[in-house]
Symmetry: C2
Amino acid sequence: MVLGLVFLQGDAILVYRVFRNESKRSAKLLHGIIHLLALIISIVGIVAVFDFHRASKIPDMYSLHSWCGLATILLFCIQWVLGLMFFLFPVASAWIRAMYLPLHVFCGVVLLVMSIGSCLLGITEKLLFSIMDTYSTRSPEGVLANSLGVVLVVFGILLIFIITKEEYRRPPNPEEEALSVHFKTLTEGASSPTP
Amino acid sequence: MVLGLVFLQGDAILVYRVFRNESKRSAKLLHGIIHLLALIISIVGIVAVFDFHRASKIPDMYSLHSWCGLATILLFCIQWVLGLMFFLFPVASAWIRAMYLPLHVFCGVVLLVMSIGSCLLGITEKLLFSIMDTYSTRSPEGVLANSLGVVLVVFGILLIFIITKEEYRRPPNPEEEALSVHFKTLTEGASSPTP
């Protein structure tokens, strides 16, 4: 889950900040492909969890970690399908896409934060199940797992700082701007929104 | 901690969206006072935690909840003192304040999210310590505490949606604008940043 929903999802979001001079279509495609990889890894992960629970006769879906984690994965699936339909193989009209874009960006950031939160809950749960007796003595496993949690929090803060900083936003490409028709350009004369 | 660092901190942030027509000075003062209340409640809470640990001979600062929680409270104290120094009793020049404002807003949102995350970790920890045996049977305490966690997540998402939506931003007051001298107005001719 850390690999799929945190690391890969974070990388997919950063595509729009790293590839600033490549065409928007390429950035969009890479964003979708990395998210697809994240989706596949997460689904494999969640199937493995349910299989493990069944094999070990552990009840499902009772902890806060499981509630938050499943909600995150379900919303992530919906967000990926909507992103595919709206931006990679656009079925909606230009103005609906322009209206949906800020919501897509907002939900992406929320999903990243929810993923990190769910991972921290999972780390705490796993530690208390496995090393309840030695955790309070600051055993190496406990400190290592706590440190992973802290790294995830720092990763999330840095990533969201980069995403939300106006100066790091992908500059609109004049050639693409001239070729594309955007709702905002037509109605308000403003430049098209870029994620 | 839920009352101080989540509910009151959220309310303090919302002051700039709710009191759109009151003077900026009043909104700033109310923002600072509610944050002061949140700070006092959090400090009382953390002192109570350490006292309880000492009385019950429970070791301190070994869990991920304690690491994240203490980091959140320390950063919250720093943010409050800096906010007081930069905006309520300004000691810095106008351009330093204008540069610091976006960072203050960003850190405020990060602190709210970190507070919610720390509360969820605390809920999970408390449940596993207290009702480990009945938690997996979906006992009422477990479901109630999980539901509190979900409510906190929903509260956070709604609040950050309101804060980040451009349309809900406090409109600049023309009278205040005319009276105040801002770095941006002087150098770029743009309107002053409002949180």
